[in-house]
Assembly symmetry: C2
Homo-oligomer: 158 residues x 2
DNA sequence: GGCATATAGTAACCTAGTTTACAATGATTG
DNA sequence: CAATCATTGTAAACTAGGTTACTATATGCC
């Protein structure tokens, strides 16, 4: 029983019913992404755009210079993807871009009033979704879930 | 302090350091997806193609007729996405498609020898990654993590 | 100053996946 | 049997995102 050829043996270590932690995570993520997708849809933005605007808001609150390069760093998004996303956001009238006076290569990104308003609302909506999503857990369970997640993140961080 | 306008108040309920469960989940998923992406890359397949082939293998083991429509149902993938993915898999010599004799609209998808071999190896690799990813937890913690995840999935299933 | 090297951003191209609309066949019911 | 309805799969157009290769500017070093 030690060696079998591919057509006879099953590679599945767990039955689908049994559920490996990875497969469970997969299902969880599908649900979570779905919930987020619905929100982003309402606001007509993508996940990426949300991440960018949330970072931008963060910078604004920290009074850090919001150049694209800094956003790339902070939001951990590919710089080309960011470049294009910012253009879209500009088209949509949510941000505008102004060349920096200090470093003329770089571009400062700033919210329009609309953009700032939208990201505020979106963040609130996401946080509400978050609450809802985990509302089936007790305080204790939630604390435990967070602690475990933190461990796993820590155990797998580069 | 009850009412503030958007430019003054912060919508962030949690500090980034504090970490809402959703944000933690986001980070976890980023790591997990990254790990999977590296594997899929090695095998030159996409996540979608992996899911499809895993479903197909499942059908094969259950001796169920592997039509595209059945795959769509089981893998919960959009039928157009599946149609195109299958074509790619055929191009890559991993499956072939043969019109069904019973229902001439439908198409039966079958592994080639290469395809079957590849999905076996990929599944093993994914399961190893899975083990690795959660290896920082003790047995007990893992059991607890799974139980909590199952609760959340159950609490958010349609 | 002047040359090498790093950095900010982008244009052009590529791929995966989604939406919409449709053709072909099968099932159902009068 | 014929008219209607459902199912299977696809073509075409579109979008988001990523890769490669490039321009322009800045910085460091002699």
């Amino acid at each position: 029983m030690k060696q079998q050829n591919a057509s006879e043996s099953s590679p599945f270590k767990h039955d689908q019913a049994d559920d490996s932690p990875g497969f469970l995570l997969w299902k969880l993520v599908a649900l979570w992404q779905g919930k987020l997708a619905r929100i982003f849809n309402e606001f007509s933005i993508t996940q990426t755009q949300f991440a960018i605007m949330a970072s931008l808001l963060w910078f604004e609150q920290q009074h850090e210079p919001p150049t694209q390069a800094r956003l790339v760093e902070h939001a951990k998004i590919d710089k080309m993807t960011l470049s294009k996303a910012i253009r879209k956001l500009e088209e949509a009238g949510l941000v505008h871009r102004e060349p920096s006076a200090i470093d003329t290569r770089s571009i400062q990104v700033r919210f329009t009033a609309n953009g700032r308003e939208l990201i505020h609302q979106a963040i609130v909506a996401v946080e509400r979704a978050d609450d809802e999503f985990f509302s089936c857990l007790t305080e204790q369970q939630l604390a435990s879930y967070k602690a475990l997640t933190i461990s796993i993140v820590a155990g797998n961080s580069p």
